[in-house]
Symmetry: D2
Subunit: 397 residues, 4 copies
C-alpha cells in the first residue's frame, strides 16, 4: 500500500480538478472541440456570455476557444464556483467576471462589462445581457454589430418576447428543443430528483407510497424513476389525456384529495404556483415528506404552512419539520426549492454535455451565417438539434 | 416569511435530533415499544450489548428500556456517533461506553466492561463479547448465568462456529434470516448502492453500460435498481443457474472478459476476493468507473492496480483516478470500500427498523424462555421471523 | 356439477353473444348511451356509415340509436362478421348492408346504397363514402344536405386532402388525435402485438434477442411490452432524437446491419416500405422469426425473399418457413400482415371503446352544430378529445 | 408472387411438421443429441417411458435414440397428439402406445405393456409406471433389473413417498430442481398465463386492476408479467415474508377481502383448494374476470358458484358467464382449469427444452452409473442440474 500512498496526493488546484472530472464525462463536447480545432469557426470573434460559471461550463469554454474564440463571461450571483473561475482565468483567451458573493447590482455591472468588450456573438441566460443591450443607450452602436445570439432558458425567451424587446439579430432558445425536453426534463430531472430525495432523507423508497403531482415531461420522468426504485407511485394530474397516459403506463392515478391521507412522500412537478395548498397539507398523514421538483419553490405553499404551524425546526440538514396544531408532522425537503439542485448535484454531467453541445453548434451557426437567420427569438433550427442528437448517439451508444 | 424565521431554529442537540429523525421512520419498533411498555419482558434484567452506536440504535435501546431493561452498550471503533452516545447517556437506564476515536484495544476493554456489569442477556456484533466471555478466565462464573444471546452478523456466527466456541446458552444469528436477506440484501443494498454511486459521481445512469459482477441477493438487487434508473446492465455471474435467472429476467449476461472493453461502470458484488483482477482492469476502456458493493474492499485488486499505475490522484472527493501506462484512466469510488456506506448513508432507516425488530423479539424470547432454547449458534426461530414480518406488513403496507 | 350443466348452454345466437361480451367491456359507450337516451341528440336524423361490422361496432350503433338516430351501415369486404350483421339487422333502427364475401364492386354498391338513403350525417372509413359523394353526379343534391362527417382513418384523411376533394361540410379525422395515438398506438398496439407473437409461435420471449425496427408511438409501445415480457430488445431507429430516447429509456440501440447476425426475432413498425430488404434478410441468423406490426405488409420484402428462397412451406398455422440457399431458415409470421390482427384478435376491446366514443361525440357535435364547424378535413376538436379522455378516466380509473 | 405459390404447400404430415417447429426452438436437446450420437450412452438399452406424447416429446425421443436407446412409450389419456404419435411410430427404434381417446383403464394397460417390454431404465410421469411395477406381482422379476428411473412431477414424487413404495433403484424427480422452479415456474408460467388471458378475453391489461392470489414462484412470475403488460397488480399472499417481498418489489398488497370490490380480473396461483370461496365471489364487482393458474381447478369454488348462480351461459368460447342473484356477472375463463394450458399453448417450447434436457442427462446418468446412485426418491443430482443450466446458458445467451 505504500506505493499507493506516495503516488496519491490531493491536488491543490480544485477548480482544475472539477473541470477535469467533468471533461471525462463530456464526450460530445470533446468531439466538437476536436472539429473546432481544425475548422476554427470563431477565428477572430469574441463571444460575450452570461452563464453559471461551474466545471461543465469550463469544459465548454475550452471548446469554444479551440474554435478560435475569445471569451468574456460573467456568472450568476450565488452559483459561481470561485475555484473554477480562478482556473479559467488562467486561460489566455478567457476572461471571467464576478464571484459567488456578488450582489445583483454587481452582477448587472459585470453584464455591462461583457457588453463593453464588444462581443460579436452573445450567449445569454435569462436575457440578462440582451435586455441591457436592448434598453440601455450606451449599447446602441453595438446592437447592429452582433451576428446572433443564444438564450439558455425558456424563461429568458419569454422575457424577451413579453417585454417586446426587438433585436436586429436572431436569438435561438436552447431549452425550446425536443432533445432537451426528452433528455433533460424526462431523464435528467427524473434521476436527479430521486438522487436528491435519497440523499436528503435516507428513507427507503421501496414500498413507499409516493404521490407525484404533475405528469408532464419532468413529472413522468420523476414518476418512472421512483417506480424504478420500488416506490408505489400515485400520479395526480388534472389534464385528462395525460392522466390517461399515466394510468395506462401502469401508475395508479387519483385526485389529490383522495390520496392525501395515505401518502408518505409527495413531490410537486407542476410548473405552477400553489400546487399544494395549506388546506391540502392539513389533510396529510403524520410524517409525510414533501419536496418540490418544479421550477418554482412556490408550488408548495410554505408561507401558509409556516403561518399555521405550531412549531418549526430543522430536524436534519436540509429538512424542516413543521408541526401542525393537530399534532401531525410535515417534513419539508430543501425549503421547497428544486430538490435535485438543492439536495443533490443537479442534473448529471452528461445532460449538460448535450445542452452545451446545442449551445456550441448554435453559436457556430451564428458565427458563420447568423445574419442569414431570421431576426427574433426562435427555437434552435431543427438541423442543429438533429446534428447534436446524432453526436450524442455517437458518444453515448 | 418572518413567521417562519422566528419559529425555526437549528437544534443544538444534534444527537437527539438524529435519533428523532430515525424514530419518525421506525414504526415497527414504535409498536414493539408500546407493547414492551405494557408487558415489561425485561423487568429486572440487564442487557449487555456491542453494536454500532448511531441514531437507529438509539431508537432501539429506548424500546428495550421501555420493556424494563437496563442497558450497558459499547459501540465499535470508527462507527460511534459521539453526539448520539452523549444523548443516550442522558437516559437513566442506559450506559454507553466508548467513542469514535477508540483504538482496538480500548474497544476490547469496553467489551470487558460490558461483561463485568454481569448482563443477563447479550446482544453481540462480530462475536466481540461472546469470544471474550468464552475465552477469558475472568468471565468463567458469568457463563452459566447468561439466559441467551443474539449475534447481528453472519460473520460473527461463522467466527463462533469456526473457533469451536461452546456456550451454555443459545445464540441466534439475526442476519441468517430470509427476511433480512430479502429486505436488506436485495432491496436495501440495491437502493443504497445506486444512491452512493449517484452521490459520488454525478454521472448519468440512463443509457450507461454498467457491469454488475455477482447475481446473489445483493447483486440481483443492485442490477434491478440500476436498470430501474435506466442503465444498460450486463450481469457477470459464474454460477450457471443464477446466470440463467439473470438472462430470463431480461439482463444481458456475459463473461467478464467479453464486456471489459465496452463497460462504462462496473460494480462488484460477489463476496469473494479478487473478483476484479489487475489483468482484467488493464482491459477496461478509458474512463471506466469502478465501485464495490460486496463485503470486502478486496473484491477489486487495488493494491495491484496501484502498483501498475503511472499516477494516482484524487480527482473528486471520494474518487481516485488511476492512470495506466497505456494512458487509460480508471476511476475508483470510495477506495473500493462498500459504496453504499462509504459514499452514502448506508441502508435506509426502515431496513434497520426491521433488523432491530428481529433483535428485540429475539432478546425478548431469550429473556422469557432462553433456557428452553437449544444451546449453540442457530438462525432465529422461524416464528420470530414470521412475527417480525407480520409487524413489517402492518407498519409498511 | 349437474347444476352447472343444466344451467349452462351454448347460445345459438353467436352474433348477439359477441356483442354482449364486447358491451361488458365498453363502459365509456355505456355512459354515452345513457346520456343519449335522455338527450336524443340524433332525434329524426339518419347516419350513413361505412365501418367494420363487428361486435364492438354493434355496441356503438346501439348507443347511436339510443340517441334517436336511424342507421344505414355497410361493412368492409373481408372484415364483416356475418353473425353480428344478422343480429344487428334485427334492430328496428339499423340497416346493415353487405357480407364478408363481398367483392370490391359489391362494396362500392353498398356504399352507394348508404348515400341513396340520404343520411344527414356521415361516418366514413378510408373515405369510401365521401369520395363517391364528392365525385359521382348522382349525389350532387345530397352534398349540401349533409350536416358534417367523421373519418376513422388517417389514411382516409390523406386521401381526401390529396385528391383535392372539397366538401361543403366539416370532416373530423378520428385517428388524428393525441388520445388515439397514445391509447391505441402505444398501449393498444404494444400489447396486441405481443399477444399475436405469442399465439403464433409459442416461443419464449424471456431472454430472447428481439429487434424492433421503428420507435414511433407504435414501435415504442411494442418495445416496452416485449421488454415487459422479459425479451432483450434492441431498437433500430434512424431518427437520432428518437434513437436517443430509446437509448435513455434503457434499450440497446443499433444500426440494423449491426444486429442482424444475433437477432432471434425481428418486428418491423416503421410505417414505410422496405424496412427490411432481401439483402438484410440474407444476413439473419438461422431460425430468425420475422413479423410486421406496421401499417403495410410491404415493410418486409417478402416478394424478394420468395424469389431468393430455395423452398417455402407452411410449418405451423400462420408461419411460413423460407429456406435460403445457404441453408438458413427464416420464419415469417402471418405472411407479413399486421401481426396483431392477423395472428391475434386485434386491439383490446377497451381501445375501441375510446375510439368509438370519439366517434360518438364527434357525430353528436356534427348533429347539433355541424354547420358552425369550418368545412374541410380537420382533426377532432380538442374539446371533444378532452371530453372523451375525461370519460375514459371516469370509466377506467 | 407466383414463385411463392408454387414453392409453398401445406405439408400433409402435420405430426412431423409440429415436431420440426419444436425442434427449431430446442437448441439444448440439439446439442445433447449431437453428443449422444458420438457417445452412445444408451447403446443396447431400452427406456420405458410414460409422458405426454406431443411435439416436444418427439424431439426428445429422437435425441435418446441418437444415443442408442430403444424406446417404448405411452402417452396420457387426453393429451396424446395422435398425429405426432403416428409420425413417431415411423421411427424404427420407437414404439408409441395409446391414443388421445383412451380410457383410464386402457392407459393402465399401455403402462403394463411398457413394463412387459422389460425396459432397463424408466422415465415416469405421475408414478404411473413405478406404482404398477412396485405393486403388481407380474413385475416382480423386473424390479431388480432396472438401472434407475426419473419421475417428471413433484406430485409423482409425493405419491411414491406417501404410498411407501420402495424400489431397489434410484428415482430422480425432475421438477424438484431450482432450475425448473425458476425457469418454468417463474418465467414460463408467468408468460404463458398472460398469453392465455389475452387470447381468452381480448381485454386490455393496461391499467386494469388485477388481483394475483399467491406469490410463490408461479405467482410472482404471473404478477411480474401482468405488470409488464401495464396492469395494476394487487398481490394477495398470506405468508408475511412473501407479502413483504411483493410489497418491496413495488406491488400493492392487500387482504383478499379488501380488494374484491375493486378488482376487474383475478388470478389464483396458490396451489391449494378453495383459494377463492363462494362468499368472496359474491363480493366481487360486476363483470370481474376469474382465472386459475394454480395446479388444481379447485382453487376457485366453481361448484359453489354454480349452485348460487341464477344463470350460467357460455358467452365467448372458453368463457362462462355466471349471473348472481344480485344481478352481478362473473366471467370464468376455461372453467377454472389452468389458464395457460386450457386457453393457450402451455409453456413456451424453450421451457420444455430445458426440462427434457434434465430428463436426458438424468437418464444418461442412470444408464451409466444408476446402480451407484442411492436407491429411493431424490431430487436430481446438483451436478446434473448445473450441467443443464450451463447448456442452457450456452444455447440461449
Amino acid at each position: 500500500m505504500s506505493d499507493t500512498t506516495h503516488k496519491s496526493q490531493l491536488e491543490p488546484d480544485t477548480g482544475r480538478q472539477r473541470i477535469e472530472w467533468a471533461r471525462a464525462h463530456m464526450p460530445i463536447l470533446a468531439g466538437i472541440k476536436a472539429r473546432f480545432l481544425r475548422e476554427k469557426p470563431f477565428a477572430g470573434l469574441k463571444i460575450g456570455i452570461c452563464l453559471h460559471v461551474e466545471a461543465k461550463t469550463g469544459v465548454w469554454l475550452d471548446a469554444l476557444t479551440a474554435g478560435g474564440a475569445e471569451i468574456v463571461i460573467t456568472g450568476s450571483p450565488g452559483s459561481t464556483q470561485d475555484d473554477v473561475a480562478q482556473a479559467l482565468n488562467a486561460h489566455p483567451s478567457i476572461t471571467v467576471l464576478g464571484k459567488r458573493a456578488d450582489s445583483r447590482s454587481e452582477h448587472d455591472d459585470h453584464c455591462r462589462e461583457v457588453l463593453r468588450s464588444r462581443p460579436d456573438i452573445i450567449a445569454d441566460n435569462g436575457a440578462d445581457l440582451l435586455t441591457l443591450l436592448a434598453t440601455e443607450e450606451e449599447f446602441t452602436s453595438l446592437r447592429g454589430a452582433i451576428k446572433g445570439s443564444t438564450e439558455e432558458t425558456t424563461t429568458g425567451g419569454f422575457r424577451l418576447r413579453e417585454n417586446g424587446v426587438t433585436l436586429d439579430f436572431a436569438t435561438w432558445v436552447i431549452n425550446d428543443t425536443q432533445a432537451k425536453r426528452i433528455v433533460e426534463n424526462r431523464y435528467g430531472v427524473g434521476s436527479s430528483v430521486v438522487d436528491g430525495l435519497m440523499r436528503a432523507t435516507n428513507v427507503m423508497l421501496h414500498g413507499k407510497s409516493v404521490v407525484v403531482v404533475g405528469y408532464g415531461y419532468c413529472g413522468s420522468g420523476v414518476a418512472q424513476r421512483l417506480r424504478g426504485m420500488g416506490a408505489h407511485v400515485i400520479v395526480v394530474e388534472r389534464d385528462a389525456i395525460r392522466r390517461l397516459e399515466a394510468h395506462l403506463e401502469g401508475f395508479r392515478t387519483a385526485e389529490l384529495d383522495e390520496c392525501l391521507h395515505l401518502v408518505q412522500m409527495l413531490v410537486t412537478v407542476t410548473g405552477r404556483d400553489g400546487a399544494l395548498t395549506l388546506e391540502a397539507m392539513t389533510k396529510l398523514r403524520d410524517g409525510c415528506i414533501l419536496a418540490n421538483a418544479g421550477h418554482f419553490s412556490s408550488e408548495i405553499d410554505l408561507a401558509g404552512l409556516a403561518g399555521a404551524a405550531a412549531s418549526i425546526h430543522v430536524c436534519r440538514p436540509g429538512i424542516e419539520e413543521y408541526r401542525l396544531a393537530n399534532g401531525n408532522r410535515i417534513f419539508v425537503v430543501a425549503s421547497g426549492n428544486l430538490v435535485n439542485l438543492a439536495a443533490g448535484d443537479g442534473n448529471p454531467i452528461e445532460i449538460m454535455d448535450l445542452g452545451l453541445a446545442l449551445q456550441s453548434l448554435s453559436l457556430e451557426q451564428m458565427a458563420l451565417h447568423g445574419r442569414d437567420v431570421d431576426a427574433g427569438v426562435h427555437p434552435v433550427a431543427i438541423e442543429i438539434e438533429q446534428a447534436v442528437a446524432a453526436l450524442a448517439v455517437e458518444a453515448w451508444v
